[in-house]
Amino acid sequence: MLRIAKEKLNALYAKINESMGLFIPVKRAGEVNYEIWKEGKEVSLETLKTVKSPKNMFFPSTENMMKFKTEGKALEIVDVRDEKKPFVLFGVKACDYKAIEVLDKVFLADPVDTFYQARREATTIVTLACSRPEESCFCGVFGIDATSPLGDATSWLDESYLYVQANTEKGEALIALIKEFVEEGGDAEVKAQQEKTTEILKKLPFAQLDLSRFKPENLNELFEAPQWEELSEACLGCGTCTFVCPTCQCFDIRDFKTHDGVIRYRCWDSCMYSDFTLMAHGNSRTTQMQRFRQRFMHKLVYYPSQNDGLYSCVGCGRCVNKCPQNLNIVKVIKTLGGKKND
């Protein structure tokens, strides 16, 4: 185990930034989100949950895909992909790290999304263990251990030090780059923190959620469940839950007309929106109940049925904290998940 004194962290960020980009939780106008690091920005590793997850790193909320240039009757297609510069994604919590696995299965499956792949390959991920989980956290339900996330390197934070450990070659290379800041030590401190956090994790109110009914064979029964009406009753149809979610992956592709052509871009989409998957005949889901149901069926039934039982919820609890009207996946799990929830 290696450690870095907390007061050296800003110099460490600057060192990384000399040769690579750094994407890290930063406080801006009162809220903490992942941003590209620059001297003077206020890094906040202590924040348990950034508002948005770090999925932006690989799957930005808006990105240009290609350009079409027209001149007379000639049409030119311009590739706008630039070579991806290496990046360090720093401070990823266990839930958000698991979420990257969920996204990989979508974007790196055939046909591979080359935009996502390029960023993914160019990035070194440093995870950060949790030491102060809160009431909305339930990553344990999905078999995630918040005290020892993986990634290219894992880190733990206490009042005085950031402890790090490399897990892959990329992680080793990063530690070699910052060797002037690190010293040996921290095994006992990390172990003590992990034990303490594990005790808290066991006591969290949602630690025992039962998911046993969310199985592919129950698909039709769950789809037809009469409880969806009541569960979705207060839904505003906003996209908050989908945009703060670390695993929501739907996007829309649109064209933007410029003076000499068209820019084709994609942006995050939300199944909560009335124009989601809009087709020539209209929207296949005509009511908010159907749109609401889609989100949770996708996370808990459709995705796992295509991915060996892996759920596409990681229990980060962001939707629990952020839904304007307090609807959320926990209520869905408690209502439809299984007997132990009663």
Binding site: R28, A29, G30, E31, N33, L48, V51, K52, S61, T62, R132, P133, E134, E135, I200, K203, L204, P205, F206, E233, A234, L236, G237, C238, G239, T240, T242, F243, V244, D252, R254, Y265, C267, W268, D269, S270, Y273, S274, D275, L278, V320, K322, P324, Q325, N326, L327, V330, K331, K334
Partner: protein
């Protein structure tokens, strides 16, 4: 609060049992004490989950646009601020007065869990209210707050504790309006240089994730289909871009609701990124007051409004620029 909650349940039960109303709009229990959610109750059994406490900050009036289209009368519990919104919806013919039974309820200001968390509390398991003292228990210990410390932003500047529309009331204690002047923060923005103000809004609006929660919760945003959601409008947009789109989206939205916004504060309550969107609306309210005389949207369900009527005393567009010069 518990005594009011019991009286509310009693009334809801009586109204449903007698058949006077077909449904009651209120709040139901969440997973914790602090996360109630809006709900429609159609049977007496459903009222077992009814709740009313200091975390019922949500404005229920907009739900009536949809819910009250069902047959039969709809009863709704409204806090004073929510009653302005309903009146405005009556005025705009989005909700029909005859279909609604309004029960005015007591409100001593609602609380914000978000604020408690920003003050360092996490893993909250329980919240207890002892009048002005709020006791929060968490897995990490107990914390006490005064009500004022953790009041929802919109309640700090509560404009009125007088219900603007009601059929009956359940009010047991005297209510106090907000201690903070609601134009104080607008004045701070006005006092800034153009550049400072631009930087302020850039910082704030760059956080926008374009989730549309502000729009969807807003009782004044009652278009059947928003132009930004309508592919046929030619300006449909959902891309999240901090350079341009978000600033325009929020400013256009503020213009669209100008003169109709009752300042219910829901836009800022629901924003996942904590953007003080209500300040845009409040600036318009303040300017309208100055140019066309004091006006509060939602005070009446009828009558002329400053932006849809003309008086010879009305300010001229050029006055706006004179105001800037002062």
């Amino acid at each position: 609060m518990r005594d009011i909650e019991l009286k509310m349940i009693e009334r809801a039960k009586a109204l449903l049992e007698s058949g006077e109303v077909a449904r009651v709009v209120g709040w139901k229990k969440g997973e914790f004490y602090f996360d109630p959610m809006p709900a429609v109750f159609e049977t007496v059994e459903e009222l077992n989950d009814f709740v009313y406490n200091s975390f019922c900050g949500a404005n229920l009036s907009k739900y009536l646009i949809k819910v009250s289209k069902n047959p039969g009368k709809t009863a709704i519990f409204l806090k004073p601020c929510d009653s302005f919104s309903l009146n405005q919806l009556f005025k705009e013919h989005r909700v029909i007065r005859e279909n609604i039974y309004v029960i005015a309820i007591e409100c001593q200001g609602k609380l914000s869990v978000e604020k408690m968390k920003k003050l360092g509390v996490s893993a909250i398991t329980e919240v207890n209210e002892n009048g002005e003292e709020i006791v929060v228990s968490s897995l990490y210990g107990e914390t006490k707050f005064s009500r004022d410390e953790v009041l929802l932003g919109k309640c700090e500047t509560c404009k009125s504790k007088v219900h603007q529309v009601k059929d009956e009331e359940i009010i047991l204690r005297e209510m106090q309006a907000g201690k903070k002047d609601r134009f104080e923060d607008v004045e701070k923005l006005e006092a800034m240089s153009e550049e400072e103000r631009f930087t302020f809004w850039r910082e704030q609006l760059s956080k926008c994730i374009r989730c549309n929660a502000c729009r969807n919760v807003c009782p004044a945003c009652s278009c059947m289909k928003c132009v930004f959601d309508n592919p046929a409008s030619g300006i449909a947009a959902k891309a999240n871009d901090d350079k341009f789109e978000e600033q325009l989206f929020h400013i256009i939205r503020a213009f669209h609701v100008a003169g109709r916004c009752t300042d219910c504060g829901e836009c800022s309550r629901v924003c996942p990124q904590g953007i003080p969107l209500h300040l845009l609306n409040r600036k318009f309210i303040k300017d309208i007051d100055g140019l066309y005389g004091e006006y509060q949207a939602g005070e009446t369900a009828e009558g002329k409004t400053p932006l849809t009527s003309y008086n010879e005393e009305d300010g001229e567009p050029s006055d706006v620029f004179k105001g800037e010069e002062k």
